[in-house]
């Protein structure tokens, strides 16, 4: 299995070939609480890095999910529409959000390793 990477915006990314699967981290869903709705991007949408790609809502909070690099949306997780709780129960598995076709592989170098992300979260207190 491909290596899992992270961002400081609490997203995880698994790249396979030129397609990256993206979701939010265990830590992020814990902070949000019970997720009630995920607004997913349209397949075919093209993002540049840091564009708002998705919104995730809990009862008491909402958070934006940003494109971690440039790319085109090739697939979204339709299962979240009927069962947004997947983001809580399997955040780094079946609770994934969307897949991006990587436009510029060099941008992947900025992503955090699992260890670096763990340290980053620990630093948030």
């Amino acid at each position: 299995m491909a290596e899992i990477k992270y961002t400081e915006e609490h997203e995880w990314i698994i790249v396979e070939g030129d397609v990256a699967q993206i979701g939010i981290t265990v830590y992020a869903q814990e902070q949000l609480g019970d997720v009630v709705f995920v607004e997913l991007p349209a397949v075919g949408a093209e993002f540049t890095k840091d564009d708002q790609a998705s919104v995730v809502e809990s009862v008491k909070a909402a958070a934006e999910v940003y494109a971690p690099f440039d790319g085109e949306v090739v697939e979204v997780n339709d299962a979240l529409e009927g069962d947004p709780g997947l983001v809580n129960t399997e955040p780094e598995g079946d609770g994934w959000f969307f897949k991006l076709k990587v436009a510029d592989p060099s941008q992947l170098e900025d992503l955090l390793s699992a260890e670096a992300y763990k340290e980053f979260v620990a630093g948030l207190g």
Binding site: V36, F37, E39, E57, S58, V59, K60, A61, A62, E64
Partner: protein, 447 residues
């Protein structure tokens, strides 16, 4: 000072408990230059009798709707309000409660709002409605902004039949948002064609029915034209009672309904507070402005109600919220809802038919007056007359004779000399045959 329970002894006791040597010690963070030493130059406190006398004196200088033959409409209507409505809205538990943020002790307000939402959805034939906005004009502006959000387009086409205040509030809201607002010529006879102006950049078309001049029509073809272009149809209703007689917007293909609900349960109040109604197609629920009450279960499995989908709202989403609205028109919505509960389907439809019947009688009577001509092919309880003279002068003259004859269109179109001869007249269930006779006679004298 009858509203203040603390005695001088209480105050001394409290200051001692705080450890402050005087009340000004508690205002120590106010810059000394700004803390007033003297009382502000306004009258001192007064008893109920004095205040009542002062305000009754102001009221006595006005002519109330019930004291004269009354034919004014144009977005606010004089209807009879059943006695039970005002009695119930003055229940302390409704009147003096806050927004239902603690649902366990706010079930009364929440259930009433859930019922209000359902009633609004029923009469408009839309999927869902929110728990109210300020008024019809602001609801119209919110609809325009929501349509732009939903479609990610920025052009809004406003019908020339839209109430000029609704138009102006919508233009004002759009002014600093970079939205393109396309206005139209006044649609006096209800024949405007908007379909040809819709293009791929159009977010929505906003059309009022009955329109400002009273004309009614089926909007099905316009809805189709909107949808073919990927635009939304916003239907505005400024006389909500009309839906007892007219095909509801939802059956004509409306995507958003923005309406004024004053006609049910609420006095005209010289223009406010009124109640904005807002209903949408189900797929837009999460893009709606305003509060929503929803069904829930408590931990014992009992059905109850909560405010829901609040992540759309300003207290959570801040600048990314669907609107800045917080306080809405809760108590006016309750009054609307109680009146509609009293009416029921039979009463709502019967009252609408009664209004239409009064207006038909009025139209038939005024059509006989030399120098007055009915402009409308169709109408509900309000229509436009073309007079042989400027309408403003006629209305003033009749006002001096104790007849409130209607609204001269020039009052809302001040720079349109070509509309000076138009008079908007309305007839509700409060208008008697005698009132109609007096208006016809006075009008004949004035023309």
């Amino acid at each position: 000072m009858r509203y203040l329970p603390l005695s001088e002894d209480d105050r001394r006791h409290m200051l001692a408990a705080i450890g402050a040597d005087g009340i000004d010690a508690l205002f120590k963070d106010v810059p000394a230059s700004a803390l007033l030493e003297d009382q502000i130059d306004l009258p001192p406190h007064a008893g109920e009798m004095q205040v009542e006398a002062a305000i009754e004196a102001l009221a006595a200088k006005n002519t109330g709707a019930a004291s004269a033959p009354f034919f004014i409409g144009a977005g606010a209507y004089h209807h009879h309000i059943p006695a039970a409505v005002d009695h119930l809205v003055q229940r302390s538990e409704f009147l003096t409660s806050y927004t239902p943020y603690q649902p366990e002790v706010s079930q009364g307000t929440l259930q009433a709002l859930f019922e209000f939402q359902t009633q609004v959805a029923m009469i408009t034939a839309m999927d869902v409605a929110n728990a109210s906005l300020y008024d019809g004009a602001t609801a119209c502006a919110e609809a325009a902004m929501m349509a732009c959000r939903v479609t990610r387009r920025s052009k809004v086409i406003l019908s020339g039949g839209l109430h000029p205040h609704y138009r102006d509030v919508t233009l004002t809201n759009a002014r600093f948002l970079g939205l393109e607002m396309v206005t139209s010529e006044p649609d006096v006879d209800g024949t405007e064609e908007l379909a040809g102006r819709i293009d791929g950049g159009t977010a929505c078309v906003i059309v009022q029915n009955p329109n400002f001049f009273g004309n009614v029509k089926d909007l099905g073809a316009l809805a189709d034209a909107c949808h073919d272009a990927g635009a939304l149809l916003v239907v505005v209703v400024s006389e909500i009672l009309s839906l007892g007689a007219l095909r509801p917007p939802g059956e004509m293909g409306a995507d958003i309904v923005a309406a004024e609900g004053q006609s049910l349960g609420n006095a005209m109040n010289f223009g406010g507070p009124h109640v904005g109604l807002f209903a949408v197609n189900e797929r837009f629920i999460r893009q709606m402005p305003g509060r929503l009450a929803g069904q829930a279960e408590d931990v014992d499995g009992r059905r109850g109600w909560v405010l829901t989908l609040s992540t759309r709202e300003q207290h959570i989403r801040r600048e990314k919220a669907t609107s800045n609205i917080c306080t809405n028109s809760g108590l006016c919505a309750l009054a609307f809802s109680i009146h509609l509960s009293l009416l029921g389907n039979a009463g709502f439809r019967g009252l609408a038919r009664l209004n239409h019947g009064r207006a038909v009688t009025l139209a038939d009577t005024l059509a006989e007056v030399p120098g007055a001509e009915i402009v409308n092919q169709s109408f509900f309880n309000e229509f436009t007359l073309r007079l042989a003279k400027p309408a403003a002068g006629v209305v003033d003259a009749l006002g001096n004779d104790g007849i409130l004859a209607g609204v001269p269109v020039s009052r809302l179109y001040p720079r349109r000399d070509d509309l000076d001869d138009l008079l908007l007249v309305a007839a509700t269930e409060c208008v008697s045959d005698d009132d109609i006779g007096r208006l016809a006679k006075a009008l004949e004298g004035a023309l």
